[in-house]
C-alpha cells in the first residue's frame, strides 16, 4: 500500500511516532485527505440486491422455449400464457410485469446461467464466496466491494461511499475501506426522541472525540459526525418519492426508497447494498401465483418504483440482483425445488445494455446439466462483477479485487454499454 507524502504531513509526524505505524489508521487518513466541498451528481452508482436463500432463476427468468422446463416441473412451471415474453425463448415471471417497460426501453437485462465455479450447495458457503469474490477460499477476510474501495481511491471523499442497508455490515463490504451499515436513514446518528437532545448528544460526543487526538477512534468519529451532518442537511424525514413512484410496503420497498434518497441527496454514494430474503422455496413454491410469485411481486414492484422515483438519475445507476445459487431443474416431492447451481441475475439502469438475456444459455437437456440435475454455470459471477466495476464504476485494476482470478474483458458478457 502506498501512502502519499501529503497524508504524512496532514496526519502529523508526532502521531506516527507515538502510535507506531498503524497501517489502517494511515489508510483511513489517506481516504480522508483532500475531500472536496461539493460532490458532483452524475457519479456512477451501483446498487446490489442480494436475494438470500437462492432464488429459482428458472421461475424468475423463465426459459419457456425449452420443453424440458415444462416436463420437469409439472406442478410449479409458470404457464406459458401467463409469462411476460421477452425474446420468444425467455420470459419474465408474471409478478415482474412492472419491469417489462424497462426491457422495452433497453434499460433492463437478465443474465442467465451465472454462478460460482465452486459446486457447493450450502447457502452459507455459497453466499460467502459470492461476497468475498473468492469461490472455494473460506478464509478471505474482506468482501470484493470493499476491496474495490480499498484500491480505487478516486471517490474516497465521503463517508457515504459504500453503504449497506441493515443492522450489520455484510461480508461483501467488510474490510479496511470505510463503509457504513445503516439500518434506518432517519435514525442514523444519535438516537433520542427530541431533536434538542439529539443535537446536544451529537455536539457533546463530537467534542469529546475531537480531543481524542489522532488514531482510528478519532478519524472514525470525525467520519461519523461528518456523515450525520451531511444527512441532516439532506433531511431524510422530508423525503417524498418523485414521479408518483409507489414503493410496495415491507422492508425491501423501504430500503430501496432510502437508497433513492441517498442517491438524490448527493452525499457521494457509490455502492449500496441490501438484502432481501425468502427465496429458499423447498416447499410449495407455487407457479404464476403462490409463495415465489409473492416474493417476486414485491421485488418487481420495488424495482419499478425505484426506477420511477429516480427518473433521470437512473442514467448513472446500475441495479444488480444476485443470489448464491439456483435451484434444481426438476421440482421435488413437496412442490418446491432444492439447492441447485447456476441462477439468473437482473440488471437495470441507464448504463445497462438492456433488452437482452445475456450470457450463454447451456440448455436444460440431461447432458447439458451440472451433475445431471442443475443448470450449468456458463458465466463466472466474477466476470459480471468485474465488468460492472470496470465499465460502470471505472475500476482500473481487478487483480486486487478478485485475487487469483482477475476477470478479463474477453469474458465479459457485455452487460454495460460501452
Amino acid at each position: 500500500m502506498t501512502i502519499s507524502r501529503r497524508v504524512f504531513v496532514k496526519a502529523g509526524g508526532l502521531a506516527l511516532v507515538s502510535l507506531g505505524l498503524d497501517p489502517l489508521f494511515l489508510a483511513r487518513a489517506a481516504y480522508a485527505a483532500g475531500r472536496p466541498a461539493v460532490r458532483p451528481s452524475g457519479r456512477p452508482v451501483l446498487v446490489c440486491l442480494f436475494q438470500r436463500g437462492a432464488v429459482d432463476g428458472l421461475n424468475m427468468i423463465v426459459p419457456h422455449g425449452e420443453s424440458a422446463y415444462y416436463q420437469e416441473r409439472p406442478r410449479i412451471a409458470v404457464p406459458r400464457e401467463t409469462i411476460v415474453d421477452l425474446d420468444g425463448h425467455f420470459g419474465l415471471h408474471p409478478s415482474l410485469a412492472p419491469l417489462k417497460a424497462l426491457w422495452e426501453n433497453k434499460s433492463l437485462a437478465a443474465i442467465h446461467a451465472i454462478g460460482s465455479p465452486d459446486g457447493t450447495r450450502s447457502h452459507f458457503d455459497a453466499q460467502d464466496y459470492m461476497e468475498t469474490g473468492t469461490p472455494g477460499v473460506k478464509s478471505t477476510g474482506d468482501g470484493w466491494a470493499n476491496r474495490y474501495c480499498q484500491h480505487d481511491r478516486e471517490h474516497a471523499d465521503t463517508p457515504f461511499r459504500a453503504v449497506a442497508f441493515g443492522p450489520q455490515l455484510p461480508r461483501i463490504l467488510a474490510g479496511s475501506a470505510p463503509s457504513l451499515a445503516i439500518d434506518d436513514l432517519q435514525a442514523f446518528g444519535m438516537r433520542a426522541p427530541q431533536e434538542a437532545t439529539r443535537d446536544r448528544l451529537t455536539r457533546a460526543f463530537e467534542e469529546l472525540y475531537d480531543g481524542a487526538g489522532t488514531g482510528l477512534l478519532a478519524s472514525s468519529s470525525r467520519e461519523g459526525f461528518e456523515a450525520v451532518q451531511m444527512l441532516k442537511q439532506a433531511d431524510p424525514t422530508q423525503y417524498r418519492p418523485a414521479n408518483g413512484a409507489d414503493y410496495p410496503p415491507g422492508r425491501l420497498g423501504r430500503t430501496l426508497l432510502q437508497i433513492a434518497q441517498l442517491i438524490k441527496s448527493d452525499v457521494g454514494l457509490e455502492i449500496a447494498f441490501a438484502d432481501c430474503s425468502g427465496w429458499d422455496t423447498h416447499v410449495n413454491q407455487g407457479s404464476n401465483e403462490g409463495q415465489l410469485a409473492a416474493r417476486l411481486r414485491e421485488l418487481g414492484g420495488a424495482l419499478a418504483a425505484f426506477n420511477q422515483d429516480l427518473g433521470e438519475r437512473m442514467r448513472d445507476v446500475v441495479v444488480l440482483t444476485m443470489s448464491e445459487f439456483g435451484r434444481t431443474i426438476r421440482e421435488n416431492g413437496n412442490s418446491g425445488t432444492d439447492h441447485g447451481h447456476a441462477t439468473a441475475m437482473m440488471m437495470l439502469g441507464g448504463p445497462v445494455n438492456g433488452g437482452r438475456v445475456l450470457g450463454r444459455w447451456p440448455g436444460l437437456g440431461m447432458e447439458q446439466r451440472f451433475e445431471g440435475r442443475d443448470v450449468a454455470v456458463t458465466t463466472d459471477f466474477r466476470d459480471l462483477f468485474g465488468e460492472i466495476l470496470t465499465r460502470h464504476l471505472g475500476a482500473t485494476g481487478l487483480d486486487a479485487v478478485f485475487p487469483g482470478y482477475a476477470p478479463a474483458p474477453g469474458r465479459f458478457v457485455g452487460a454495460i454499454r460501452t
Binding site: K138, A181, A204, G211, V283, A294, R295, N332
Partner: protein, 523 residues
C-alpha cells in the same frame, strides 16, 4: 509452591511496572484479564496485590461463583442437551413446512416475523438466550479470566450458528467442548473441537469420506439394485458424500494451528484431509455425537510433515492433532494471537517469546502460557496500558459492569453487541472475529457505541445523582474509569451539564458521555 510463584512475580514486576501506581496496575489487569473493573474493584485488587489477584484468576476452580450459578439456573437453554435441541428444531421446521404446504399467503410476503409459527419462534428465542447467557456470564462471573478465555477460544475455534445443524449443535459446543477446557492443555482443546459435532458439521468433515467408500447399508442397497430392486428416487442418493472434503483440514492448519504462514502446502492439506476421513457425526439431524466410520476412512498411507501415517484408523487423527499442537509454527501463531488479545494489537516479540517458552516447557499448558504473558514486561509497559480499543463485546460488558447494571435474561444486551458489529456466534467465516481494532472501529460502529452508552447509562446504579456537577464527574471518574478520565473529557462533560438542573438527567447524560467517550473505549 504458591509462595514461590508469587515471589518470582514480585521480583519481575518493579522493573517493568515502574510508571504504574498499584491502582493503575490493578485497573490494567482488570481491563485485560477481566471485563473491566466494577466500581471500587481497582482499589480492592490493588490493596490485596494485583499479582495475587492474577494468580487467583488463573486458578478459577477455587473462586466461589455461586451468584453466577444461581443466575444460570434461569436460563432454559442449559436444561436442554444436543438431542433435545435437535428435536425441538426439527419439530419447529416440520411445523413451518406444514403451514407452508397448507397454502401460500400471497398477501403477506414477509418470510419471517409476523407469520412465523410458535415452535420456530421459541427455538429462535432459545438462540437469543444463548447469546444473552454469554453476556451475563461475562458480566457477573467472579471467574473473569475464565470467561475471557471462553470468548477467546470460542472465537479461535469459530463455529457459525447459522449454518444448518449448528443451530442446535452450538450450545453443547460452548458448554461441553469449549468451557471445560479453556485453561487446560491446548492439545486437549484441539482434539475436543476436532471431535465436536458442531465443528465436524461447520467445516464439513462429517461428510469427508475416502473416494469410492460407501456405508454398509448402502452397499446392501447397491447389491439389491443389481438384483432388480429399485431404489426410491429422490434425495437419498445425492446426500451420500462421495469423496474427501478439505475444508476442515485447511482451516485446521491455517487457523487453528500452524497459521497462514505455517509452511504447509496444498498436498499437506489433502494428506491431512485423508487422515480425517471417517471422522463424522452419528446422526447430525438428531444431535448425536462424534463417530468414527471405519468404512469411510482412507486406509492408504499418508505422508505429511515428515510423518508416515497408515493403518491406525481414528488414532491417526489424534496423533496428528497432538503433533500439530507442539509444532513451533502453531506455538508461535497461537501465542502471538493470545498476546494480541492481552497485550497489544501488534504484540512485541518479548511477550510472544515468553509465551512460546512456557508452551514448550509445559507441553502447551494454557495457564502457564498466560502466566508468562502476564508476567512479561511487555504486558505492563506504557505502550500496552490503555492502548487497546475494546471489542464490541468487551465494551458492552465492561459498561454494564462499571454502571452496575443488572443484566437480565432478555436478549437486549446481546443485541447491543450485535449492533456494534460483532454479533455473538454469528461470524460466518472460520477466521472468527479479528483481534485488531481496525475491524471493529469504524464510523457507523462508533456512533452505535455512543448510542449504546446512552442506553446503558439510563440504568446506571453505581453513581448517585447529585446537584453538584463537579462531584458527579469526580464520582464517574473514580467509579467508571478508576481515575483515568482525561482533562478534556472532564471539561466537555461539565460544560454539557451546565444548564441541567435535574440531578437524574445530569447523571444520565454525564454517565452516557463518559461511557460513550474515548476514555472508556480504551483498555
Amino acid at each position: 509452591m504458591h509462595f514461590i510463584v508469587l515471589f518470582a512475580l514480585a521480583v519481575q514486576m518493579p522493573s517493568a511496572a515502574h510508571a504504574l501506581t498499584p491502582r493503575d496496575s490493578a485497573f490494567h489487569a482488570l481491563n485485560r484479564l477481566a471485563y473491566g473493573a466494577r466500581p471500587g474493584e481497582a482499589d480492592s485488587v490493588a490493596r490485596n496485590g494485583v499479582m495475587r489477584w492474577i494468580e487467583r484468576q488463573l486458578d478459577p476452580d477455587h473462586i466461589d461463583d455461586s451468584q453466577l450459578a444461581e443466575r444460570e439456573r434461569q436460563f432454559k437453554i442449559l436444561d436442554y442437551d444436543r438431542a433435545d435441541l435437535a428435536q425441538r428444531f426439527q419439530e419447529a421446521r416440520r411445523e413451518r413446512q406444514r403451514t407452508q404446504r397448507e397454502g401460500p399467503h400471497p398477501l403477506t410476503p414477509s418470510p419471517a416475523g409476523e407469520g412465523e409459527r410458535k415452535p420456530m419462534r421459541e427455538f429462535r428465542e432459545l438462540g437469543g438466550e444463548l447469546q444473552q447467557l454469554a453476556v451475563v456470564r461475562a458480566a457477573i462471573s467472579e471467574r473473569q479470566l475464565r470467561e475471557v478465555m471462553v470468548d477467546f477460544w470460542t472465537n479461535h475455534f469459530n463455529v457459525f450458528v447459522g449454518k444448518g445443524a449448528d443451530r442446535f449443535l452450538l450450545p453443547s459446543y460452548i458448554e461441553e467442548t469449549i468451557r471445560p477446557r479453556v485453561l487446560g492443555r491446548f492439545e486437549d482443546l484441539l482434539i475436543a473441537t476436532a471431535q465436536s459435532p458442531a465443528m465436524l458439521f461447520y467445516l464439513d468433515n462429517a461428510q469427508s469420506v475416502a473416494p469410492g467408500s460407501a456405508p454398509p447399508q448402502r452397499q446392501l442397497l447397491l447389491r439389491r439394485q443389481r438384483f432388480g430392486m429399485n431404489e426410491p428416487p429422490g434425495d437419498r442418493r445425492r446426500r451420500q458424500p462421495t469423496g474427501i472434503n478439505e475444508n476442515y483440514a485447511r482451516e485446521l492448519l491455517e487457523l487453528h494451528t500452524l497459521g497462514v504462514d505455517g509452511g504447509y502446502t496444498q498436498q499437506d492439506i489433502i494428506e491431512v484431509a485423508r487422515i480425517f476421513t471417517g471422522w463424522s457425526i452419528e446422526r447430525p439431524e438428531r444431535g448425536a455425537g462424534f463417530v468414527f466410520h471405519d468404512w469411510a476412512h482412507d486406509g492408504g498411507t499418508k505422508h505429511v510433515f515428515g510423518l508416515t501415517v497408515h493403518g491406525a484408523g481414528e488414532d491417526e487423527g489424534i496423533r496428528l492433532l497432538k503433533f500439530l499442537a507442539m509444532q513451533p509454527a502453531t506455538i508461535h501463531h497461537v501465542s502471538a494471537k493470545l498476546c494480541a488479545r492481552f497485550v497489544a494489537d501488534e504484540p512485541p516479540d518479548g511477550c510472544i517469546d515468553a509465551a512460546v517458552g512456557a508452551w514448550q516447557r509445559t507441553h502447551g499448558d494454557i495457564r502457564a502460557v498466560l502466566r508468562a504473558i502476564f508476567t512479561s514486561p511487555d504486558f505492563w509497559s506504557a505502550q500496552a496500558v490503555r492502548t487497546k480499543v475494546k471489542t464490541p463485546f468487551e465494551f458492552v460488558v465492561s459498561a454494564v459492569r462499571a454502571a452496575g447494571v443488572e443484566p437480565d435474561n432478555t436478549p437486549q444486551l446481546a443485541q447491543l453487541v450485535a449492533r456494534l458489529g460483532e454479533p455473538l456466534y454469528q461470524q460466518p467465516a472460520p477466521t472468527g472475529y479479528a483481534e485488531t481494532e481496525s475491524h471493529w472501529v469504524n464510523s457507523g460502529a462508533l456512533l452505535a457505541r455512543m448510542n449504546a452508552a446512552v442506553m446503558i447509562a439510563k440504568e446506571c446504579s453505581s453513581i448517585a445523582p447529585t446537584e453538584d456537577h463537579s462531584q458527579l464527574v469526580d464520582a464517574i471518574d473514580q467509579k467508571l474509569l478508576a481515575g483515568t478520565m482525561s482533562a478534556h473529557t472532564r471539561s466537555v462533560i461539565l460544560e454539557q451539564l451546565n444548564d441541567l438542573n435535574d440531578p437524574e438527567q445530569a447523571r444520565a447524560l454525564a454517565v452516557g458521555l463518559a461511557l460513550g467517550g474515548p476514555d472508556f473505549q480504551r483498555q
